[in-house]
């Protein structure tokens, strides 16, 4: 008698991941439905909506194109030159991702703003001043954030070309550019460009500070304006659907090209090659110096101005800092819980969907939906910080999941059978197999989500009342009041806290007992 194959024993339960997945679906799509339902039937897309869509897509495309085009020569220079401080520069390329957006923007303003370094130089030599506000300002800020990411990923591509190939090409007297580098770039660049495009599509804080006005409003910023100034739920829901639509199209495009995988180490190698003379050496040097200046000057300005601004900070900054730390801690715990339980499902459509949806979601709409849910029961403003933590956890989930899930799959692949045969199930399996072997990715994911939450200027801008400012919001308000010295001081504190949060978590994952 034929029997159905029995299902294999599950060392790790799948149901917590199902709960997490449905929670994320409720947070992303459910909140959108609630906002839309509450809004009732609104009007169809108006010209302002289309302007926002056009601006969003154009700035994301421009940001992505510039980032990648600049990153190619930088990555090539890093791939073929060995110099003092090279590994420091490569490490630095990882920093902008965890940099609070508002801090980076303040640094960019100090360099490219009206009274910034660049305009100082320009007016000294009698040239007209440039403005950082508008389309090119938004693109500039996005390039600042994404150029390092692009450089690291393209550098990986370069270093993945075996050294033997360069030797072969040299002995045959062929051009390495045509036979080795161009095929590599053609393989990796489309995926990188699309990833950056996706990241820039949902940009909010950059557009909030450097954009604005009818000609420089992203969809996410338009959602903010609809909610903040008009409490126009219908408008916000409409725009959120629009944003999902744009991101879905981009995601489908991304499906057709392979997305790059960020790797931690292995970027220390320098490829030895035999082409190029003095001229390329000078060119590489110039490219690297310019890039380092572009990335370091704004940060240096944050630090120097921040030091002198520390004394100007209002005393209310310290409670705000404490709130930010608490929000970041709560958000990190939530995010890790979601990412781990989803990863325990070991693939599956539900986990894949739940770990991707937040990339396309609007944090503002999630927050608004949550407020509408709790509104009948309590004064939503009292929950502003909890809601912020929950939204931050959701938005950081895609990154945390991608750090943890592949590693968990690898550990299960290597040790799953041994654990099964020993009857290591449930908590014992987590305690003795999963947690010890996943320390590094868990630490990295925790650091990432803590830093992202610490620096987040999103949903909190909508709902915080008097005593609920977080550090980024306090800083934004100081900037709005033109108290730039005080804002610079806060920026330094925020920068230090974000880096410290990342460092502590990441370090915790690396310590071997």
């Amino acid at each position: 008698m034929a029997r159905r194959p029995i299902p294999l024993a599950l060392g790790l339960p799948r149901w917590p991941g199902a709960i997490a997945a449905w929670l994320v679906l409720a947070l992303t799509l459910g909140t959108l439905c609630i906002v839309a339902l509450r809004a009732g039937t609104g009007q169809w897309l108006g010209p302002a909506d289309w302007a926002a869509v056009r601006f969003t897509v154009l700035q994301a495309a421009a940001s992505s194109a510039v980032s990648v085009l600049v990153a190619i020569p930088v990555a090539r220079a890093l791939a073929r030159r060995r110099f003092r401080g090279r590994s420091l520069l490569v490490t630095l390329m990882g920093a902008p991702f965890i940099l609070p957006v508002i801090v980076a923007v303040l640094g960019l303003l100090a360099v490219f703003g009206r009274g910034g370094l660049l305009n100082g130089v320009l007016s000294a030599i009698g040239l007209p001043k440039v403005s950082i506000y508008g389309f090119h300002g938004v693109v500039l800020a996005h390039v600042f954030f994404n150029l390092p990411l692009a450089v690291r990923l393209i550098l990986q591509g370069w270093l993945s070309i075996p050294a033997e190939r360069f030797r072969l090409v040299a002995t045959l007297d062929l051009a390495p550019g045509r036979f080795l580098e161009w095929p590599m770039l053609r393989a990796v660049v489309p995926g990188i460009a699309l990833a950056i495009f996706l990241i820039c599509l949902t940009s909010f804080a950059v557009a909030l500070i450097l954009g604005g006005g009818p000609r420089a409003t992203t969809v996410e910023l338009a959602i903010y304006q609809a909610l903040r100034f008009d409490f126009d739920l219908a408008g916000a829901a409409r725009l959120a659907v629009l944003q999902f639509g744009i991101c879905a199209i981009a995601a489908v495009l991304a499906w057709t090209v392979t997305l790059p995988q960020a790797q931690g180490g292995g970027l220390d190698r320098v490829v030895q090659r035999w082409d190029g003379g003095r001229l390329t050496k000078v060119g590489d040097g110039a490219v690297l110096i310019l890039t380092a200046c572009f990335l370091l000057l704004p940060l240096a300005m944050v630090v120097t101005r921040g030091l002198s601004g520390l004394a100007e900070m209002p005393i209310s900054i310290w409670p705000a800092a404490l709130r930010s730390v608490l929000v970041a801690a709560l958000s990190t715990i939530l995010c890790l819980g979601l990412a781990l339980t989803l990863a325990m499902r070991r693939g599956g459509a539900l986990a894949g969907l739940a770990s991707t949806l937040p990339l396309a979601a609007s944090g503002l709409v999630i927050g608004t939906g949550l407020f509408l849910i709790v509104h009948p029961f309590t004064n939503p403003a009292r929950l502003a910080l909890a809601v912020t933590a929950l939204v931050n956890a959701t938005m950081a989930l895609p990154f945390a999941y991608r750090a943890i899930a592949p590693e968990l799959a690898r550990v299960e692949g290597d040790y799953g059978r041994l654990a099964d045969s020993l009857g290591l199930r449930g908590w014992a399996r987590l305690r003795w197999l999963i947690f010890p072997r996943l320390r590094r990715p868990i630490g990295f994911a925790a650091g990432l989500s803590a830093a992202l939450s610490m620096g987040d200027l999103g949903v909190i801008t909508l709902f915080a009342t008097g005593g609920q400012e977080t550090l980024p919001l306090a800083m934004y308000r100081l900037m709005g009041a033109y108290r730039m010295d005080a804002a610079a001081g806060v920026a330094l504190v925020l920068l230090a806290l974000s880096l410290l949060a990342f460092w502590l978590c990441d370090r915790g994952g690396r310590v071997d007992d």
């Binding site: 008698m1 034929a2 029997r3 194959p5 029995i6 299902p7 294999l8 024993a9 290597d414 040790y415 059978r417 041994l418 099964d420 045969s421 020993l422 009857g423 290591l424 199930r425 014992a428 305690r431 003795w432 197999l433 010890p436 072997r437």
Partner: protein, 237 residues
């Protein structure tokens, strides 16, 4: 109803690969599973251990049907080709997992671990991590855990293949000495007839999609059937 292992009309399928087995092994014996690579020796062990569900038939131990029982609850220990120890746990912890998956060990348990450590010749190495041990020492830890686990059937999927020939022979002898004398039933996969000659009472030949009933080692190797003859090649005689 028989004592020992009974593969009752077992049929396995995996990615278009098929294997059938209808045989029983006497308790307390050492059986070698031998045959060309790719014929399914490891697959057969996977099915007995519970990692692969059969499409038909049963796996029975001492009259108890194991087919629906998950691997960790079967009266079976298994030693894999690699990844037999958790590298982040100490030798003592790796051994302790043979007693309790929760690793909550009583004083009596700890004393047992200590005795087994001694038995496999690793006294004083209990606090080391596997990475600090040689390949042979790691194999000893895995054998020690199988001894602690008190599960009557021990499957060995060429766990010593990566060791040199001398060390491999030493480990096989130790396995029989330690586990055999404790009354365990041993089933080991090997591609080397010398391994079988060294320690096995009986041999199961796996070839052409079928695991054949066990034959006494000496008789088999002296007069191999056609399928095995082709595999052994040089030993035709």
């Amino acid at each position: 109803m028989t004592d020992g292992l009974w593969l009752d009309g077992l049929r396995l399928e995996q990615d278009g690969f098929r294997l059938s087995a209808d045989l029983s092994l006497k308790p307390g014996q050492v059986t070698a599973v031998i045959g060309p690579s790719g014929e399914g020796k490891s697959t057969l062990l996977s099915a007995i251990a519970g990692f692969l569900a059969p499409v038909a038939g049963r796996v029975v131990w001492d009259g108890q049907d194991l087919t629906q029982i998950p691997p960790g609850s079967r009266p079976i220990s298994i030693l894999f080709q690699d990844h037999n120890l958790f590298p982040h746990l100490t030798v003592n912890q790796n051994l302790g997992l043979g007693l309790h998956a929760s690793l909550r060990l009583t004083q009596a348990d700890k004393a047992k671990v200590e005795r087994v450590l001694d038995r496999v010749g690793l006294a004083d190495l209990g606090d080391r991590r596997p990475g600090a041990l040689s390949g042979g020492q790691q194999s000893r830890v895995a054998l020690g855990r199988a001894l602690l686990a008190k599960r009557p059937l021990v499957l060995m999927d060429e766990p010593f293949a990566a060791l040199g020939p001398g060390l491999k022979a030493e480990m096989l002898d130790l396995a029989v000495e330690v586990l055999g004398s404790a009354g365990r039933t041993l089933v080991m996969v090997t591609h080397d007839p010398e391994d079988a000659r060294r320690i096995a009472d009986a041999v199961v030949v796996v070839a052409e999609g079928k695991a054949m009933p066990p034959v006494p080692t000496q008789a088999l190797l002296d007069d191999p059937p056609e399928a095995l003859r082709r595999y052994l090649g040089r030993e035709v005689g």
